[in-house]
């Protein structure tokens, strides 16, 4: 079991305190720090995640990090290749490369990208990017992009390319993702993730691959650990409300709800459903242990800073998690 951190960088206590927290993630033994990309919404105050990650590379030595995910359709593929190579070189090969098409029609719309072209454009851009990361010259003739013998001066440290990550929301995608050998963060409840992980693993084995080489399959949860259940849950409840407001901000501004209820709007059902795990070390330990078993994951992703959680609250969470929860998992 590895442990990771996911961060929306939703508006709260920003860059300086986040960087200090990230130093603590490294000390605590987390494997990687994953940062979201959002635009024109308080949900994501690191709209160019690469810029923040370049600072993360300076503040850490061993912690891996990456976007989760680059909204690939909002970049020129050459720009993304350049950024991937720079980050990988500036960190001695610590980049984890999350890719996606961008799920918010409002955000991609602001960039002038027609959401209807999303999947097709994304598939083509990803093909270009992987080709560009692995070849000396880039030639491509497609619907959205044409490249003729462009020299690829920049190269990543990790060959053929940094590990790929993908967000999965459907059980059916497990076969394809296993075939591509992609690391996955599954956006479902523990039971759903359990089905997904079983299917991914079966597909992986059916391809003749070993369990030991299984890519990371992760489940992400809000985690607040405090000295008592009461203290942790009241902080989590307070911060969750702000985070949830940020999550639905652009949808509400356009007069609609979330397209898919990825998480309950109210704190109590979210806590009950395991989307949020908050409490004393023993409460968090028991719940995560149970859910991780049900989910069959090998990557436990925590969101330790969100909403208006103070630096001290998050720091306390990290300390208690590392000391009293991690070893038991």
């Amino acid at each position: 079991m590895k442990f990771g951190v996911f961060d929306h960088m939703d508006r709260g206590r920003q860059f300086d305190e986040r960087l200090r927290l990230i130093e603590l993630y490294e000390q605590a033994g987390f494997h990687a720090y994953h940062l979201a990309e959002h635009h024109a919404t308080p949900l994501g105050m690191a709209p160019s995640p690469s810029v923040f990650l370049a600072a993360v590379a300076q503040r850490t030595k061993t912690l891996r990090f990456g976007p989760l995910v680059y909204t690939v359709n909002l970049y020129h593929p050459l720009r993304l290749i350049d950024e991937i190579c720079m980050l990988d070189q500036m960190s001695g090969g610590r980049l984890e490369l999350g890719v996606g098409r961008g799920i918010s029609p409002y955000e991609v719309g602001y960039y002038g990208v027609d959401p209807a072209t999303g999947p097709q454009r994304f598939a083509e851009a990803l093909e270009v990017i992987l080709k560009g990361l692995t070849e000396k010259r880039l030639t491509h003739e497609g619907k959205y992009f044409t490249f003729k013998d462009v020299p690829m001066e920049m190269q990543p440290v990790q060959r053929p390319h940094p590990p790929l990550w993908y967000g999965a929301n459907s059980l059916e995608s497990a076969d394809r993702l296993a075939e591509q050998g992609l690391n996955v963060v599954v956006g479902m409840k523990a039971e759903g993730v359990g089905q997904f992980a079983a299917r991914y693993r079966a597909a992986w084995n059916a391809l003749g691959h070993d369990d030991a080489n299984l890519p990371l399959i992760g489940l992400s949860r809000h985690v607040v650990v405090g000295d008592t259940d009461k203290e942790a849950q009241s902080a989590a409840k307070r911060a969750f409300a702000l985070w949830y407001d940020a999550l639905i901000h652009l949808w509400r501004a356009h007069g609609v709800g979330l397209p898919r209820q990825m998480i309950p709007a109210e704190f109590e059902p979210a806590l009950e459903g395991g989307y949020i795990v908050a409490g004393s070390p023993s409460t968090v330990r028991e719940r995560l242990k149970r859910d991780n078993d049900v989910a069959g994951i090998n990557y436990c992703i925590c969101r330790l800073a969100f909403g208006d959680l103070s630096f001290e609250e998050s720091k306390r969470s990290v300390e208690l998690f590392a000391r009293e929860v991690m070893p038991a998992l």
Partner: protein
């Protein structure tokens, strides 16, 4: 008079990770030595520029320094979506407590623009429209724009810069005629011109500035860029400068040659001695560099001295030594006699706070700085 550094981040060897770290250590030295700002270029598909997304490298610079200002010189606006640019500018400005210097340009190389699928013929129009959007968007609550290349409808500007209304603007130019327009915009200027031409430019810029009724004391920066190598003897410095010049020039000409043409002469002559004669390169002992820079400064009339201390295959030790000697023995002579500002205070002091330079560091660099 302020001093600054320009860096192409041209490729110096096979290990790019090492090069980034060496360059970052140099930015710590620039800060210590009292430099005002560090400017880094953006290039694509060429060994001339290993920071093709300069914002990423600058985010690292922001972590390694506390006072040094920094920025791209310049963002080729046509290669960015304006929203991405606004977001990146705001992030860098916030992450550095308002230390960003915002260089904007059309993009000098038609080949690099073509890689991105941009027709060089549209460069000026794209530049104008993108700059308009960026300046409109920085600090605004919402952004609306209907133009030839971009249509933006009521976009919430969640990201805001620290510096209002926006970070200081910079433009690179080799054209005398642009002086009036840039003075009108109040834009800082980085020239890449022979000394005498720079003199004509600053004169015209200053005249245009005063003709607009603006106070001479508020004049923006007008600087000229030089490759500077200061070592203990003239012969050491000139031979290092000559060696590095050829490597750097090869990077400069790389994409042009790949397309079957030579570098336009006004960008740089391939001949080291001719380039020295024009004043693009100043290399020598501290006394020689001081005399040449004093002379050139009086001819060019600049108020901003932009040095390139790292280029080609200059080693970290050579560049660090250059900066050290420049700060201690050249800078003070180039300052007006009555200057008591931070540059004067910083020059000639010993290295402090360079984290990587331990007390027991007796390596060449450690020794030099104690």
């Amino acid at each position: 008079m302020k001093f600054a550094v320009f860096d192409h981040l041209d490729r110096s060897g096979p290990d790019l990770g090492r090069q980034y770290e060496d360059r970052l250590r140099l930015t710590e030295i620039y800060e210590w030595a009292g430099f005002h700002a560090y400017h880094v270029a953006e290039h694509h598909g060429t060994p001339l520029g290993s920071a093709p997304s300069p914002g990423l490298f600058l985010a690292a610079v922001a972590q390694r320094t506390t006072r040094l200002r920094f920025g791209p010189l310049a963002y080729p606006l046509g290669l960015y979506h304006p929203l991405r640019l606004i977001e990146e500018i705001c992030m860098l400005d916030v992450m550095s407590g308002g230390r960003l210097e915002l260089g904007v340009g059309r993009g000098a190389s038609p080949y690099e623009a073509a890689f991105f699928g941009i027709d060089a013929a549209t460069a000026q129009e794209r530049f104008d429209e993108t700059l308009e959007i960026v300046l409109k968007g920085l600090g605004a609550e919402r952004l609306d724009h209907a133009g030839k290349f971009f249509t933006l409808n009521d976009i919430p500007m969640v990201m805001q810069p620290v510096q209002r209304p926006h970070p200081p603007l910079w433009h690179v130019t080799r054209s005398l005629e642009s002086a009036d327009r840039l003075a009108g915009l109040g834009c800082n200027v980085a020239l890449a011109m022979p000394t005498h031409d720079a003199g004509k430019f600053t004169k015209r810029y200053r005249a245009a500035w005063e003709a607009l009724g603006r106070a001479p004391a508020d004049m923006p920066f007008v600087g000229n860029t030089r490759n500077v190598v200061v070592l203990d003897s003239d012969s050491d410095a000139v031979s290092a400068a000559r060696r590095a010049f050829h490597v750097w020039y090869d990077s400069m000409v790389h994409l042009w040659r790949a397309n079957g043409v030579e570098l336009p002469r006004q960008v740089s002559s391939p001949d080291f001695d001719e380039t020295v004669e024009q004043g693009y390169i100043v290399a020598g002992s501290p006394a020689k560099v001081r005399d040449r820079m004093l002379r050139d400064q009086s001819i060019s009339g600049i108020n901003y001295s932009i040095c390139r201390f790292a280029c080609g295959d200059l080693s970290f030790e050579e560049s660090a030594r250059s900066v050290r000697l420049f700060a201690r023995e050249v800078m003070p002579a180039l300052l007006p006699k009555d200057d008591t500002g931070p540059v004067r205070a910083a020059t000639g002091t010993l290295a402090r706070g360079l984290r990587w330079l331990g007390d027991e560091d007796l390596s060449e660099v450690g020794f030099l700085f104690r």
